[in-house]
């Protein structure tokens, strides 16, 4: 991107009126969907300040999703790591087993408010697809989910769950048959049916207002965590840790701490087989600015701007782009972005199982696996909040396959 596009507004004031985060973001979509984005933005801004909408959202988050979920002091994990207190924000205990439902609930309510009778969504790991199908069932909306053929194979359990919920799952065979192609297909479908259909984007990506809206629906993670840690520790944490694919659980945790200057924010991307191999999904770490799926952000691409396939053992992180607000956080030096490999992530799964009796999603396990590397940079007695974004039942087969193909979990403990 050119220098004149990079701006220096305070991060807390973003995005600007054009949906820009210091130059990142925006709306790079066909004219066909622009009116729908304008309608969505207007409706969302109204809902945001509408007490009855917020009251109903809180009602469902409490009674249906099961919020607030615990901020759990993981003593066993902490003791293994050293002189540190690691708290786990238990998004895995939400209904449907991940943070995704915080967002799909809000968007399904918006769809209903706009008079749309149908929702569509893309999904990678299937968690967002399940969460969308769940809230569609809850509110009586028709639901179609686009999923790459490769992901349908890796996440067969979630395909069955979506179908049980009454959703139609459409297999996407174009391109690499993964999340990016499912997103292309969902956008194409939306172009042909904007009148009755709302597109539920699952992360802080896509054209404005999606990154803003998804952040707002996910910030409940950080709002609760901030309150809970102050109750339990009487102080703010030293660092926040979360995995980053598109970046919604990380943004949800980070955003409420944005003005707390002493709190480090660490986003963990997927290094796949290793950054040096090229087979990874670390867009912030190894990509450069580019436009995909309606927004300007960091992107894995070749010299000509052709998007290069991402790779990760975790279907939910297997995405070549990342949310524009993370790009702004990185460029502004507010958050740090690192990457861990497949083997390290599988090690993270095992570590948390053995020390705490908790089976995390492979996505989440990337954050768990980074703790060991984080330790030397912390002062003794440091307090960490890690977003345990989802549970790992869906990944058991992937882990078995990883090991039967000769992979060895990289376990430091």
């Amino acid at each position: 991107m050119s220098d004149k596009e990079i701006t220096r507004e305070p991060l807390i004031d973003l995005p600007d009126d054009r949906g820009r985060y210091r130059g990142f973001g925006g709306r790079y979509v066909p004219e066909t969907v622009m009116p729908a984005l304008e309608e969505l933005e207007a409706e969302y801004r109204a809902a945001r300040t509408d007490p009855s909408f917020q009251k109903e959202l809180t009602h469902y988050l409490t009674e249906y999703v099961g919020r607030p979920n615990p901020l759990y002091l993981a003593s066993g994990l902490s003791a293994t790591l050293g002189d540190v207190r690691v708290y786990l924000k238990r998004e895995d205990l939400n209904h449907t087993g991940a943070h995704k439902i915080n967002n799909t609930l809000g968007q399904a309510m918006l769809a209903r408010r706009m008079g749309k009778t149908r929702v569509i969504a893309e999904t990678g790991a299937g968690q967002h697809g399940v969460a969308t199908a769940t809230t569609a069932a809850l509110f009586g909306l028709d639901c179609t989910i686009y999923m790459g053929e490769e992901d349908m194979r890796r996440q067969a359990l979630n395909v069955v769950r979506m179908e049980l919920l009454g959703a139609e799952v459409v297999e996407v065979t174009s391109g690499t048959g993964t999340l990016k192609d499912a997103t292309n297909e969902a956008l194409r479908e939306w172009v042909t049916r904007v009148a009755d259909t709302h597109y539920v984007i699952g992360s802080v990506v896509g054209p404005h207002p999606y990154p803003l809206m998804v952040r707002d629906f996910q910030r409940v993670i950080g709002d609760e965590a901030r309150r809970q840690i102050l109750e339990k520790e009487g102080r703010l944490p030293d660092a926040l840790v979360a995995c980053v694919g598109g970046g919604s659980n990380a943004m949800g945790l980070f955003y409420p701490f944005l003005s707390d200057a002493g709190v480090r924010m660490i986003g963990v991307e997927a290094a796949g087989h290793g950054l040096e191999t090229g087979a990874h999904a670390a867009s912030l770490h190894s990509g450069r600015p580019g436009v995909l799926h309606g927004a300007l952000s960091y992107l894995l691409q070749d010299d000509d701007g052709q998007v290069t396939p991402a790779y990760s053992i975790s279907a939910g992180l297997d995405y070549p782009g990342v949310g524009p607000e993370h790009a702004a956080f990185m460029q502004g030096g507010r958050a740090e972005y690192v990457a861990v490999t497949d083997a390290e992530a599988v090690g993270g799964v095992k570590l948390l199982n053995r020390t705490e009796g908790i089976l995390p999603a492979l996505e989440t396990a990337h954050a768990v696996a980074y703790l060991d590397k984080l330790m030397p940079t912390l002062t003794p007695g440091a307090v960490i909040v890690l977003c345990l974004s989802g549970r790992g039942d869906k990944d058991v087969e992937s882990i078995t396959a990883f090991e039967s193909e000769g992979g060895t979990a990289n376990e430091s403990h």
Partner: protein, 275 residues
């Protein structure tokens, strides 16, 4: 005068409508792309769009998606588009445009891309994922290099989103028909006619219809309310037979070139059919 503006002004004077033909650059090879341009113009195409392939063409249907993928698999590089246009320019006088997505242009460099396109003999650009709110830098550079950047309008476009058309100084307006103007859904056809009427209230620029136009009878209908029709997939399907991906036997290049010319001729004649 920009060739696009001159072409539409000549057509209008002659009482004719424009056939805008699209093919994907580099599918199946740069040589055949250049020959395809010549063949389309021989059949009566008034403007030609060359698609610069992108890995994630979200505004395109399956036929053009496959063509883009074939071109990329065959090793297409952005800089080749200028060579193809340069070669085609030596053989045809019609306006030549590049249709692509924003990212390949951004990575090449917006200014550099406009400069090289202009030098190669290109006349304009169509970038469907760049709504007018985002086009600032590209419009500036395109105009500075004598290129026309096409404005897109859709059946979903609201009247407020048409006001910017007033400021356009040349080129044409591309009106997208979501599910095909001649689809079974007659209300869509009606909506497209409404939108074109609104466009004409904002600007005197010519309006062409694209997406879902593939037969002479579609062209005949489009000709009753617009200034031209864009046909893409129908030509790309002919070129697809060269890839051996279809069930049919692979035809030789001469046959493909002949079929393209014939298809262009039938479509151009469609404008004179009664609807």
């Amino acid at each position: 005068m920009n060739r696009i503006d001159a072409t539409f002004s000549n057509l209008s004077r002659a009482g004719e409508k424009a056939l805008v033909a699209y093919v994907t650059a580099g599918d199946p090879s740069p040589d055949l792309t250049v020959n395809a341009v010549t063949a389309l113009v021989a059949g009566g195409a008034d403007l030609v769009e060359l698609g610069l392939p992108f890995s994630d063409p979200l505004a395109d249907g399956p036929v053009i998606q496959r063509a883009s993928q074939r071109a990329l698999t065959a090793g297409f590089r952005t800089s080749e588009i200028f060579t193809m246009i340069e070669r085609a320019r030596r053989q045809v006088a019609v306006p030549l445009m590049v249709m692509s997505y924003y990212n390949p242009l951004m990575q090449y460099g917006i200014r550099l891309f406009c400069r090289d396109l202009s030098r190669a003999g290109g006349d304009g650009l169509l970038i469907p994922d760049l709504p007018y709110e985002e086009e600032g830098e590209l419009r500036e550079e395109a105009e500075a290099h004598g290129l026309r950047l096409t404005a897109f309008v859709a059946p979903t476009t609201t009247p407020a989103r048409l006001e910017h058309l007033k400021d356009l100084e040349g080129g044409f307006v591309y009106c997208v028909s979501v599910t095909g103007v001649t689809g079974t859904d007659q209300t869509i056809s009606k909506r497209v006619r409404d939108v074109i009427r609104w466009i004409k209230e904002e600007t005197l620029l010519p309006v062409v219809i694209g997406f879902g136009v593939s037969r002479p009878k579609h062209v005949a209908e489009v000709g009753t309310f617009a200034d031209g029709a864009v046909v893409g997939s129908a030509f790309v399907r002919i070129l697809e037979t060269a890839s051996g991906e279809s069930q049919l036997a692979v035809p030789d290049e001469a046959t493909i070139v002949k079929e393209l010319t014939q298809m262009a001729r039938e479509l151009k004649e469609g404008f004179t059919m009664s609807f």
